[in-house]
């Protein structure tokens, strides 16, 4: 009896701090998502209800037409914000850069990890060192360069530099380093050259790492702001972040529309997160582990 009692006491003693901490941290977690909840709630309101006090977290009257107006569906919008076009542009650029980055990073990562060419270590260190260069320093020269090359007014200004990522190369090299050399040697004995080994053996086994990299690159591109702001001057080229800032300037007082636009801009990133959470976190974390 006494042992049972002690046992129960211990369980309760352990349980109480757990429950208290869960409540405490849970409350903090809820306050973290409050801005999102507020955004969703405001995006469903009539214009004047957004400013109504006290705040109505669940609106009395749901007004999903805000989304139709933002997307110009059904012709009820006072004007076309070209939001769908910006969405298409953003997805196009993100997908091209994702494919390019995964390809170039897998190629270079494999070579730096496995092929014993002369100068590979020095080149890799120099290559990594360029990661320290802030993108702001190359912004003005790139702006001038693209002007000279006649690329201003095209998406190539974002795509060409976006086809390689230093972090990606680093990530893939880390992955290939831990693949045993025997795999490669046995393929060589069978007469395969490096390109065949890369395409038929290395790429298939590296797929999970490639998926992680792909998601990280997608998010970077989807959220990138400074470069599109500088390089894109025509509304037909706008990506989502630029279209959003433009949107606020054009519809300053219609907060409900602005919130519907902001909510729409978050969807792709949340989808990537929802379906690829494991890969995404792995990609973000493995870039962080000391090399």
């Amino acid at each position: 009896m006494k042992i049972m009692k002690n046992c129960r006491k211990e369980v309760i003693q352990k349980l109480i701090p757990r429950i208290l901490f869960t409540i405490l941290i849970g409350a903090a977690a809820i306050s973290m998502v409050t801005p999102f909840l507020w955004m969703l709630s405001a995006s469903m309101k009539l214009p004047l209800d957004v400013m109504k006090l006290p705040i109505e977290w669940i609106p009395d009257y749901f007004y999903p037409d805000n989304y139709k107006k933002v997307w110009n569906i059904g012709g009820i919008a006072a004007r076309d914000y070209h939001f769908a076009l910006a969405y298409y542009n953003s997805i196009k650029i993100a997908v091209i850069n994702l494919a390019g980055s995964v390809l170039t990073s897998t190629l270079a990562g494999y070579a730096f990890a496995k092929i014993k060419f002369r100068g590979s270590n020095v080149l890799f260190l120099l290559y990594l060192a360029t990661m320290m260069i802030p993108s702001q320093i190359t912004l003005i020269p790139k702006f001038v360069m693209f002007n000279k090359m006649g690329l201003t007014g095209t998406h190539l200004t974002l795509i060409l530099p976006g086809l390689i990522t230093i972090t990606g190369t680093f990530l893939m090299r880390q992955y290939f380093m831990q693949i045993p050399d025997e795999l490669r040697e046995s393929a060589r004995v069978d007469g395969a050259n490096e390109y065949m080994i890369w395409a038929r053996i290395m790429v298939p086994i590296a797929k999970p790492s490639m998926a992680s990299l792909a998601m990280v690159v997608f998010l970077w591109n989807w959220n990138s702001y400074l470069e599109p702001l500088v390089f894109l001057s025509d509304w037909r080229l706008y990506t989502i972040p630029i279209a959003l800032t433009n949107f606020i300037e054009e519809s300053v007082t219609e907060y409900n529309l602005v919130m519907a636009a902001a909510a729409s801009a978050l969807i792709p990133a949340f989808l990537v997160f929802l379906f690829g959470q494991k890969f995404l976190v792995k990609g973000l974390v493995s870039g962080a582990v000391k090399g």
């Binding site: 941290i25 801005p35 109504k52 006090l53 270079a108 702001q136 320093i137 003005i140 702001y225």
Partner: protein, 297 residues
């Protein structure tokens, strides 16, 4: 005469062909622009005067900026921003990661809630926070609910604007640092903790004597990366305050941006971009050196 490649040369060629796209990309879009940037930082180039129409002024830009109030204020604001954001983000992330790992039910949903701001589009997030800080927004309402009768106009008040953006930045960055800490915590050696339990160490002691030292490489990594990204803060400033009111939120990258793309002073803006680079470079080097002293394993 027939060329014959040695085996090593063949390997070299194959290797270079694999890294060619990356090397080309870095040369074209990083190293060459950097060289170009260095050159124009010694000129008085005004973009409206056309390409090549500039005078070489030597180090004049680099001297003049120290008496430019906009530049010095932007540097000070950036510094204040970084030295508040970095320790707070890293500290909260560490405490959260330890508590969630050890005590919480529903670990995954809690972690995801903290992580959500990090993956969200910075523009969308900044817009939402502008509304949060408005007189009818939740932040102001909350402060009023605690009895403050005349809450400040957060983003419109020179005393509060930078603090308001700092709060938002911590909110959006803590989830990432938390995720990195969580994965590091999962790799901690369990037997050491069991030994400490047998010795009767309490949770606080274990946290300071075991967890903090064990996680020091992660902390070190996070401090560097958060510092570097904080020093480059731009989007929230550009969207929420445009550097104002006055010079209260004018940060370095925002000032570089407006100098170059609003006033077209390409030469001067490039010199300031180099100062940014030098600061980041020096900080990274100092932190690497310091790592040896305080990273304890």
């Amino acid at each position: 005469m027939k060329w014959k490649l040695s085996k090593q040369m063949k390997t070299d060629l194959v290797g270079y062909s694999f890294i060619l796209p990356n090397i080309l990309g870095v040369l074209l879009f990083t190293l060459f622009p950097m060289l170009f940037s260095l050159i124009i930082s010694f000129t008085d180039w005004d973009y409206t005067q056309g390409f090549g129409n500039w005078n070489v002024v030597g180090v004049e830009n680099f001297i003049r900026m120290w008496s430019d109030e906009w530049f010095t204020s932007s540097l000070i604001n950036t510094l204040i921003f970084a030295v508040t954001v970095v320790p707070l983000t890293v500290f909260f992330a560490l405490v959260l990661a330890v508590i969630i790992d050890k005590y919480c039910f529903a670990k995954l949903p809690i972690r995801l809630a903290f992580f959500m701001p990090y993956i969200s589009n910075v523009v969308a997030v900044a817009i939402v926070w502008v509304m949060m800080y408005s007189p009818w927004g939740p932040v102001t309402q909350l402060v009023q609910a605690f009895g403050v009768e005349n809450p400040p106009q957060w983003l419109g008040d020179p005393k509060w604007a930078l603090a308001a953006i700092i709060l938002m930045t911590i909110w959006s960055g803590v989830g990432y640092a938390n995720m990195i800490y969580t994965s590091a915590i999962q790799g901690l050696p369990r037997d050491v903790y069991e030994a400490a339990d047998i010795d009767g160490a309490n949770e606080i002691t274990k946290f300071f004597k075991l967890t903090v030292p064990f996680l020091s490489p992660t902390t070190f990594f996070l401090i560097i990366t958060t510092f570097v990204t904080s020093f480059q803060v731009f989007a929230p400033i550009q969207i929420m305050t445009r550097g104002g009111p006055g010079t209260s939120t004018n940060v370095l990258v925002y000032y570089i941006y407006t100098s170059a793309f609003t006033f077209y002073k390409m030469g001067y803006a490039s010199s300031m971009a180099w100062i940014l680079f030098i600061i980041l470079f020096v900080i990274t080097i100092i932190q690497w050196r310091g790592q040896k002293k305080w990273v304890s394993y």
